[in-house]
C-alpha cells in the first residue's frame, strides 16, 4: 500500500477493527518508526475519541460507582472537596438551627417578661386594693344607689395610697371608646386618673396610686372617652362620687 492508501485506513487501524494484511502492514510501519504512519495513527486516534464523545448519549453513573471505584483503588471513598462541601453544609445547618433556636428562645423570653410584668402590675394593684380597703382612714363613697339605671359601685379614697373604684352594671362601650376616671378638685379642672375597660359582664376595678388631698378633692367621676384618653372630660360623667364634705 502507498501512504495515501494507508491514510484512509488509520482510523480503522486505531479503532482495532482493521484486518489481515492491511492491519499488518500499518502495524509494521508504525513499529519500524515510519513517521508518516505514526503521525497518521496518532491523528486518527485523537479523531476517533472526538467522534466517540460526540456520538455518545450522555448518561450519569450512579453515585455509588464513585465511592466504589475510589475505595477499590485505596483512595479514601470521598474526596476532600466532597468533605469540604459536607462540612460547609453541616456548618450551615448548625448556624441556621442555632439562629432559629435563638430566635425562638428570644421570643419565649419576651413573652415570659411580658407575663412577669403583667403579674407585677396585678400584684401591685392587689396590694393597693388591700391597702386602701384595710386602711382605717379610707373613705368609702357608694354611688348609683339612688338611680334605677346603672352603673353602681363604690369609690374608696385613701389620702396616702390613692383611689380605688369598684363598679358594676357599666354600659357596653362603643368600639374605639374607653372609660376614664377623674379626680375633681373642689376648685379647678378635673385631673385625669387613668383609663380602664369593663368586663363583658359590665364590671370594673380601677385604681390609681398616690396621695390624695381629701381637703381639696371634691369628687371622683368617670366619663366615656376616645380610646387614647382625654386631658379633660368630653362627655357627661356616668359616675359621680362626691368625696368631700362627709
Amino acid at each position: 500500500m502507498t501512504h495515501e492508501e494507508m491514510h484512509e485506513l488509520y482510523e480503522l487501524y486505531a479503532l482495532g477493527v482493521l484486518e489481515g494484511e492491511e492491519r499488518a502492514e500499518i502495524a509494521q510501519h508504525v513499529a519500524t518508526g515510519c513517521g508518516v504512519c505514526q503521525t497518521g495513527v496518532q491523528r486518527a486516534a485523537a479523531q476517533n475519541v472526538a467522534v466517540l464523545a460526540a456520538l455518545t448519549p450522555d448518561t450519569a453513573p450512579s453515585r455509588r460507582l464513585r465511592t466504589r471505584l475510589l475505595a477499590g483503588m485505596g483512595v479514601a471513598g470521598r474526596s476532600w472537596t466532597w468533605l469540604a462541601w459536607a462540612a460547609a453544609a453541616a456548618c450551615l445547618v448548625a448556624v441556621t438551627w442555632s439562629g432559629v433556636r435563638a430566635y425562638r428562645i428570644s421570643n419565649e423570653l419576651d413573652a415570659a417578661r411580658q407575663q412577669v410584668a403583667v403579674a407585677d402590675r396585678e400584684l401591685a394593684r392587689v396590694r393597693l386594693v388591700l391597702d386602701v380597703l384595710n386602711a382605717p382612714d379610707t373613705r368609702a363613697v357608694v354611688f348609683g344607689q339612688e338611680k334605677k339605671q346603672p352603673p353602681k359601685g363604690t369609690v374608696f379614697v385613701n389620702p396616702r395610697s390613692g383611689v380605688l373604684l369598684i363598679a358594676s352594671r357599666l354600659p357596653q362601650l362603643a368600639p374605639g371608646r374607653i372609660y376614664e376616671m377623674w379626680v375633681i378638685p373642689k376648685s379647678g379642672a378635673p385631673k385625669p386618673a387613668g383609663l380602664f375597660p369593663a368586663t363583658a359582664a359590665g364590671t370594673a376595678i380601677h385604681s390609681i396610686e398616690g396621695p390624695v388631698d381629701l381637703a381639696t378633692t371634691g369628687a371622683v367621676a368617670v366619663t366615656v372617652e376616645p380610646e387614647a384618653g382625654s386631658n379633660a372630660p368630653t362627655s357627661t360623667p356616668i359616675i359621680v362620687a362626691p368625696v368631700a364634705g362627709s
Binding site: 484512509e8 482510523e11 480503522l12 487501524y13 486505531a14 479503532l15 482495532g16 477493527v17 482493521l18 484486518e19 492491519r23 503521525t39 495513527v41 496518532q42 491523528r43 486516534a45 485523537a46 479523531q47 476517533n48 475519541v49 472526538a50 467522534v51 466517540l52 464523545a53 460526540a54 456520538l55 455518545t56 448519549p57 450522555d58 448518561t59 450519569a60 453513573p61 450512579s62 460507582l65 464513585r66 466504589r68 471505584l69 475510589l70 477499590g72 483503588m73 485505596g74 483512595v75 479514601a76 470521598r78 474526596s79 476532600w80 472537596t81 469540604a84 462541601w85 460547609a88 456548618c91 450551615l92 448556624v95 441556621t96 439562629g99
Partner: protein
Amino acid sequence: MSDTFLVSVAVWVLSAVLHFKDDSELVDRLKRRDPHAMSVLYDRFGRLTYSIILRIVRNEGVAEDLVQETFLRVWNRIPVFDRQRGAIGPWILTVARNRAIDYLRSVEGRGSERSFELDLLEQPTLFASAQSGLLTLDRQKMIRDALERLTPNQREVIELAYYEGLSQTEMAERLKQPLGTVKTWVRAALKMLRQELGEAVA
C-alpha cells in the same frame, strides 16, 4: 447572617485550593501517586467514560465494572504518560472504549486474540498529539453537525466500528451487504469526518 457568609467564604477558599488548574497538573499529581488526584480525574472524566462504556455494553452493572477497570488501568500506566505532549482525556476515553469492546468481543465469542491488539492501541504514546480541545463543547457540536450529515448507511457502519468493534468483513456479514459496498460507506464517512476535523487534530 455573618456566620453564613463566613461559611461561604470558607467553602470558596477550600474549593479553590483543592482545584487543579489543568490536566497537566493533574497528571503530575497522578504520577506522584496523589490519591486525591484520582478522585479529581474521576470527577472530570467519569461521566463521559461511563456514557461511552454503557452505550457499548448496554448493561449498567457491567458498565460500572468496566469504568473501574478503566481507571485502574490509567492509574497503573500513568507513569509512562508524557504530560508535556499529550492530553489525558482522550487516552482515558480510548481505554474505556477498548475495555468495553474487548468485553463485548469476549462475550460474543469473537476474537479474544484481538485483545492484545486493543492493548497496543491504547498505549499512552499514541495520544501524544491529542489535544484536550477536542472535547470542548464547540468542537463537539461541530462533530455532531458532521455526523448529522452522514447517510443512514454511513452512520450505521460508523456506529458498528466505534460501538461494536466490527471489522468491515463482520459489518458486511451483519448487514448482509457486499464487502465492497460496506467499504465504500466506511471510506466516505471517515473522509467526511476527517475533513471536518482535519485542522483540529493535526
